[in-house]
Symmetry: C2
Subunit: 425 residues, 2 copies
């Protein structure tokens, strides 16, 4: 029985209890959220014990990190180290996006090492194997795709990004209106190429019930991939994007009806004044399904710093209702991320998530900010280190400092000058 | 004649023309903005030729960088290098906040080397000299303060942060309501200590007309310092902050009436859902004076990454109407910034400013994003380098890459897979 079916039957699962405890909520609130489809708890029935992660309405905003081999760099060891870096930096989930080397071995390594939910994009493996076995992406068959989904589900993958919300209506919209950056989603681009070459509908759309049957058997959470997310601010909120949202909304409803947990993925490059409308429309059209975003990248012109552009847009989007932030690293648009990039991406996304939690009124977030402010006033270095998003960095910086003296103003300490008169500790 | 008096007399100055050209606006729009006090052009009449910088309504959001010696580290050479780094990274103005070593020499170095407007906080020098000459901050006299203002104006300083909007009404509000972090503004803290110890009103408030006379003589732009900006998210939008805004609004009106260009400074630590109200109230109470903010820091808990927390809050604030972003470096709350920190702070603030320009509908910003997106689709490395906020970083990363191949997806290029079917360039 999946989490959503259990919740609808009035049953509280250990996973719901774990989420309630982590979020300091009554378990009934979590059960109701799961039953309504506003909360998902990604957890394959065959997955080993992990730190449970609830995503959705009323919960802390969560952060996902990306790892994975590529055809240019397929070392499993390096990706395993990135996984460890991402977890140490505080991510709530991991996606293994491998497209190079031994993809099966990498996935099993990710599942064995991660203490958080692990997601994947099965179509990547289907594409790579089609190239290897049949010589090209367009020679891939529907059977290849579903075989990859089934294999990865059987391995224990907790959530899967699957681009079912791409069909010929969406592509027609793309072709009619035109765009600056047509398709920048990797999975979306593979499927678009496949559909247009073969003049066949997307199997993940056409055989959606077949997909649901597999996911339900393992309680894999479906993450409806945003195949046509805008890849530039110029393309944000165009007809094709909205067409994709409409399709995703209908599929989300079908997944729920089938007892499959579902969240929906979103952009992408979005200027700040589009952020609220983007979230509103997604939540409206997708029946308040949890919203998983890659960004929002608030501008196109900052390659090398896209962890910052994503923190800017991600914070605003999460404050407006997005539930799950996918890390963007400084290497986005430039190349493959290294371990430092992964850490920077997770930290920036956690800042965005926490800033949004404050705006959403999450009590634990306010308590943490308050403890940090009090530690600053008290010049309590250990207190500041404890509350920091990156305690190691703060410890190193404060230890370089002046011992009893704060390093910032030296003897002309501003806080001390005034606090002497306010009788502060 | 100051810029604002010239504008009111219907005269177009070379500075207004330079701003109009840089912003691609009709010069009459700029003149009207200066006349109304919605735009300032910081430029001391004795300052050498510099890149003119207009700040305010209808203009690009601008970025200010901070440099300055301290009692712990007074090397003028290092601060001059930071100035060069900040300008190379694209800041629009510099403030020299020196409090150590030869403050006069440092200021003259800043003015000689900078090609952008240079600001200062004269009370810092008055405080340091009071400690040296009289043994303590509280022994400082009103004459010391005004002498520092006059000396710095005569040297050519273009804009000055002056904490005139701090008076006993504001301190009473602070004491009545209480706060987590009472006073975190350095100038505000010095003056608070001085006022409470001496039981005397703030000279910069009490003798405001005397201040205006000096500033007007040199056309120094007054930047009304936010002496009681919130130093924690818990203190945002409290009574003391609003009391300070009310006082600042009245003083801004008096400055304008006297023919002195004026902008107003603001927070500080502000949770995201307070950002719009903060800007709205400031603009309302301060008669649409240009708004110069330090942040907004969207959370307290990310020391080591406050350039990111400031980019998050700064972008949102600027989209809502803030005009001038003061860089916050990764070293904020931890120690003194080095050259890399200054660069990171400027880049992050420029990302926030540009994201806000997009939201504000600045045409040049949209054109730049579009050129970047087109360069990506065309896999035009030089085009991407040219449009990037940090071209050097992009060049280095792309050169590390794969030549004709893009480094991101390797042979499974997503953009190529789809674009083959869309007939893109």
């Amino acid at each position: 029985m999946t989490q959503v079916l259990a919740a609808r039957a009035g049953k509280v699962t250990p996973e719901m209890e774990a989420v309630a405890a982590a979020e300091k909520l009554a378990v009934e609130v979590v059960r109701e959220g799961v039953a309504a489809g506003n909360i998902v708890i990604p957890r394959n029935i065959y997955r080993k014990a992990i730190r449970t992660c609830g995503i959705g309405k009323g919960l802390r905003v969560k952060v996902n990190a990306l790892i994975g081999t590529s055809s240019d760099r397929d070392q499993i060891g390096m990706e395993a180290r990135k996984l460890a870096v991402a977890e140490a930096a505080g991510c709530d989930a991991i996606m293994d996006l491998s497209t190079g080397g031994d993809i099966d071995e990498m996935r099993r390594t990710s599942l064995a090492k991660a203490n958080v939910p692990v997601g994947s994009v099965p179509v990547y493996q289907a594409v790579i194997e089609a190239i290897e076995k049949r010589g090209s992406i367009v020679a891939m068959t529907a059977e290849d795709i579903f075989a990859a989904v089934e294999k990865q589900a059987a391995d224990g993958i907790d959530f899967m990004a699957i681009h079912s919300a791409l069909n010929f209506d969406v592509l027609k919209s793309l072709q009619t209106d035109g765009r600056v950056t047509d398709v920048v989603s990797r999975g979306g681009a593979f499927l678009t190429g496949w559909m247009l070459h073969n003049r066949m509908e997307n199997p993940l759309y056409e055989q959606f019930d077949r997909l649901l049957t597999i996911l339900k058997a393992y309680d894999v959470t479906l993450s409806l991939g945003d195949a046509i997310r805008p890849g530039s601010t110029a393309d944000s909120l165009d007809g094709a994007q909205l067409q994709g949202m409409i399709v995703a909304g209908r599929l989300a409803a079908r997944a729920r009806a089938a007892g499959v947990q579902v969240m929906v993925e979103g952009p992408g490059h979005v200027p700040l004044h589009h952020a609220e409308a983007t979230i509103l429309l997604q939540k409206r059209l997708c029946r308040d399904a949890p919203y998983f975003i890659l960004g929002l990248l608030a501008t196109d012109v900052a390659p090398g710093y896209d962890h910052i552009t994503a923190a800017v847009g991600g914070a605003l989007a999460a404050a407006a209702g997005a539930d799950f932030l996918c890390c963007v690293t400084p290497a986005e648009h430039l190349g493959l991320p290294n371990e430092d990039d992964v850490k920077d991406g997770v930290v920036a996304a956690r800042i965005a998530a926490h800033a949004a939690d404050l705006a959403r009124g999450v009590r634990a977030a306010w308590e943490r900010d308050l403890r940090m402010a009090q530690a600053r006033v008290a010049r309590d270095a250990e207190g500041q280190i404890k509350e920091a998003i990156d305690p190691g960095k703060v410890r190193a910086a404060l230890m370089e400092g002046h011992g009893e003296e704060c390093a910032i103003c030296g003897r002309e300490c501003a806080v001390r000058a005034a606090s002497a008169y306010f009788g502060l500790a």
